[in-house]
Symmetry: C2
Subunit: 379 residues, 2 copies
C-alpha cells in the first residue's frame, strides 16, 4: 500500500492530541477554542451535550450503533475504526486525499458513479475501467483489469451499482477479495450507499468482509434510507488506515454535525426502523415495477434490466442512437435525465441513459418517458 506523498506532511492536531490524552480524566481545558456552553441556545431535537464541538471521529454512541449495523451486514468493524462523515461523498474525498496523486492508477467499474470520477480526477488519478455485468465483474475480467493497470485503489459499488444497478454475486465478491488479497499495493474502496434499498433479497456480505490481508475502506450513507438533507454517512476501514483518515477528516472540517448525528442515532435505535425500511422498500419496489412497464411501453426496443434495489435504471433507450443531443432537447421539453456518457472513466458508450425512478411520482415518470420517446422518434 502506498499513500499519496502529501500524507507524509499530515500532522495530528496538537489540540486534539492534548484533549485525547485527557479523555476520561478530570481535566480543566484551556487548550481548545471552545465556547462557553451556557451561551448555546436550546434547539429542538439537539441534546445540550451535542451542542459543543465534538470528536473528529464522531460521537461514540453513534459509532457503536453503526458498528452493530455493519455486523448485521456481515462486516465486523469496531467503533474505533468508524469515522462519521458529512455524507459518504466525503469518504471519496478522504480516500482520494489518502491515496491519489498525479498518475495514481485507480481501477473502477465502467460505468460508475459520476461524482467519484470527479474527485479521483481532481486529485490526478489515472482512471482504469473494468467491464461489469449484472452480477459484477467476471473472474477473468477482474484478473486482467488488475494486471493491466496494477491499481493503488480499486473502487467498486457492489450492491445496486450506480448507474447499472448491478448486484455483485457471492462469487464475484469472493473473486475480487481474492484478487485483492493476492496483492500488497491495492486498497479496496467499497461504496455502499444503496445496501439497504433492496427488495427481494438482501445483498451478500460486503467485499471488505471477505478480505484477509488487503487494506480496505467501506462507505455507508444515511441519505437514502433516512434523510438526505442531514448529510450523514460514515466510513469503516482496516486498522492501518483509520489514523490518517481521521486526521484528514480533522483537517477537512474538524468533525461532522452533531445534531444530525443525534437524529441518525435515534433512528438506528428506533425499534420501528426495520418496519420503516420495509415500507420504504415496498414503495420503491412498486415504483420500480411501474417504471419498468413505462419504459417498455415507451421504448419497445430498449435494452435494460429491472434492478432489484437502488435508485436507477440503466437503459440503452434506442439501440444505436447517440443520446448526447437528446438531453438538451429533453430539458427544453421539461424532462431531465443523465446521459450515460458521463459515467464512463474513459471511452464512453453514447447510447445509454441513467434514469432515476425513486423521486418523481409514477405518473410524472411515465409522462417524462413519453416525452423522451417523442423526442427520440422525431429527431
Amino acid at each position: 500500500m502506498k499513500f499519496a506523498s502529501r500524507i507524509a506532511r499530515l500532522h495530528a492536531s496538537p489540540v486534539r492530541e492534548i484533549l485525547r490524552a485527557a479523555t476520561g480524566r478530570q481535566v480543566v481545558s484551556l487548550a481548545g477554542g471552545l465556547p462557553d456552553p451556557d451561551t448555546f441556545p436550546q434547539l429542538a431535537g439537539l441534546e445540550s451535550q451535542r451542542s459543543q464541538y465534538g470528536l473528529t471521529e464522531g460521537d461514540l454512541d453513534l459509532r457503536q450503533e453503526i458498528s452493530a449495523l455493519l455486523a448485521k451486514r456481515g462486516l465486523c468493524c469496531p467503533p474505533e475504526r468508524i469515522l462519521v462523515l458529512n455524507g459518504s461523498q466525503q469518504g471519496l474525498d478522504l480516500a482520494a486525499k489518502l491515496l491519489v496523486e498525479e498518475g495514481t492508477s485507480v481501477l473502477c467499474e465502467s460505468p460508475t458513479y459520476v461524482a467519484a470520477l470527479q474527485v479521483f480526477s481532481l486529485f490526478g488519478a489515472q482512471l482504469e475501467g473494468m467491464a461489469i455485468g449484472p452480477e459484477g465483474s467476471s473472474r477473468q475480467d477482474l484478473t486482467e483489469s488488475f494486471r493491466r493497470c496494477d491499481p493503488a485503489m480499486a473502487y467498486v459499488i457492489p450492491s445496486f451499482q450506480n448507474p447499472t444497478g448491478a448486484l455483485w454475486s457471492e462469487d464475484a465478491r469472493e473473486a475480487l477479495a481474492s484478487e485483492l488479497d493476492h496483492r500488497t499495493e491495492c486498497v479496496l474502496l467499497e461504496d455502499d450507499p444503496y445496501g439497504e434499498l433492496w427488495w427481494g433479497q438482501a445483498p451478500p456480505a460486503p467485499v471488505a468482509s471477505r478480505l484477509r490481508k488487503a487494506p480496505w475502506i467501506y462507505l455507508g450513507s444515511f441519505s437514502k434510507s433516512f434523510v438526505p438533507g442531514l448529510r450523514m454517512g460514515f466510513l469503516a476501514c482496516s486498522e492501518e488506515l483509520i489514523t490518517p483518515l481521521e486526521r484528514l477528516k480533522q483537517a477537512s472540517d474538524l468533525h461532522s454535525n452533531r445534531l444530525a448525528q443525534g437524529w441518525v442515532l435515534s433512528d438506528l435505535c428506533d425499534p420501528n426502523r426495520e418496519e420503516r425500511l420495509a415500507d420504504l422498500r415496498a414503495r420503491y419496489r412498486f415504483k420500480c415495477d411501474v417504471f419498468a412497464e413505462s419504459l417498455k411501453r415507451h421504448f419497445p426496443n430498449a435494452q435494460f434490466r429491472k434492478p432489484s434495489g437502488g435508485l436507477f435504471f440503466w437503459a440503452n433507450l434506442v439501440p444505436g442512437r447517440d443520446l448526447r443531443d437528446i438531453a438538451h432537447l429533453a430539458l427544453e421539453a421539461g424532462v431531465a435525465f443523465l446521459p450515460g456518457e458521463h459515467c464512463f472513466p474513459s471511452a464512453p458508450d453514447l447510447g445509454w441513459a441513467r434514469l432515476n425512478f425513486s423521486h418523481a411520482s409514477v405518473e410524472d415518470a411515465d409522462r417524462a418517458l413519453g416525452v423522451l420517446a417523442g423526442i427520440c422518434r422525431s429527431r
Copy 2:
C-alpha cells in the same frame, strides 16, 4: 492569480449542471439520485423541504441573510458569491485545494491558527510567516514579507487573531489591501471566526472589503456566536473564484447539512439576535477580565495583552522558560493548554502559551492557572 494544477482537472457535476439548467422551470427530473420525499421521517425543527438533497452552494434564503450580515460588517457580497460550509475549517480545505500544491508560497501571520497550518502543509505549501503586533503587521513588515516570498495566497485573521488576540487596525488593514492590490498573483484568504465576539468596539471592516482588484476569500463561522455542534460556516469570495470553489465543495461533500442551515437561518432572522450577542459579549468580557486578573496573580512576570475579543490569551508565562515539557506535566496534573510552538509556521518561539478563557468556569480557570504556575515554579 494561479490555481493549483489540479483545478484544470476539476469538472462540474453533469447532474448538478442539468438540474441547474432546470431551475425555476417545471421539470420532471430523472437525473439525480433523489429519494422519494414521502419516505422522509418528520424531524423536529426540520422543515420538510429541507429534508431533501439541496444546493451545493447552500439554501438561498440562508445565503441572503449571510449577505445581509456581511453588509453590516462592511463587506458587500451578493448571495451568488456565498458558499455555505460545514464549518469555516472547510473553507481552509477548499482554498488549499484551489491554490496550494507542492511548493506554493503561502504567507501567514506568525504565530497563526494551528489547523490552518495543518491543511496548508498537507497540500504542500511553503509557509512563510510575517510578524504581527497587537494591531497587525506594520506596513514595512508587510512589504518585506510579500517581497521575500511572493506568495500565491496570504492568510490572515485580522479580528482577534488566533492565537495572539491581535486586532488589525484600520491602517494595517489598508496597508495589506494596498499591498495585495499592487500584486496580481496573490489571493487574500481572510479568516474571521471571532468577528462577532468583541467587547468595547466592533472590529474595522474586513480587509476583503478594501480591495479593488485583488482576488479574495472571506471565511465566517457560526460556531462561536451560535452553536459549534452544528458545524456551520460560510465563505464569500470575489467573482472569479466562486465557480471553482463551488465545484470543490461539490466534490468534497455535495452540500452542507440543511437542518443546521435552517437553524442558522432562524437565528439570523431572530429579532432578539443582537440582544443574545450582547449577553454573550458581556459574559465573555467578564470571563476575560477575571482571567487576566488570575493570570497576573499566578504569573506576576508574564507578558501578555488582555484581548478585546475572541477566545484566547497569548502569554509568555515565565519569560525565558521553554514551555515544551510543561504541557505534559500539566496534563498529568489535570490542566490542558496549547504550547505556543505549534502555532508558528517556522522557527517557533518556545516560551508562549495559548490559553482559552471562554470554556472553563472562572473558578476552574483560576485553579488551572494556579496548577500551571506551581509546575513552572517546581521545575
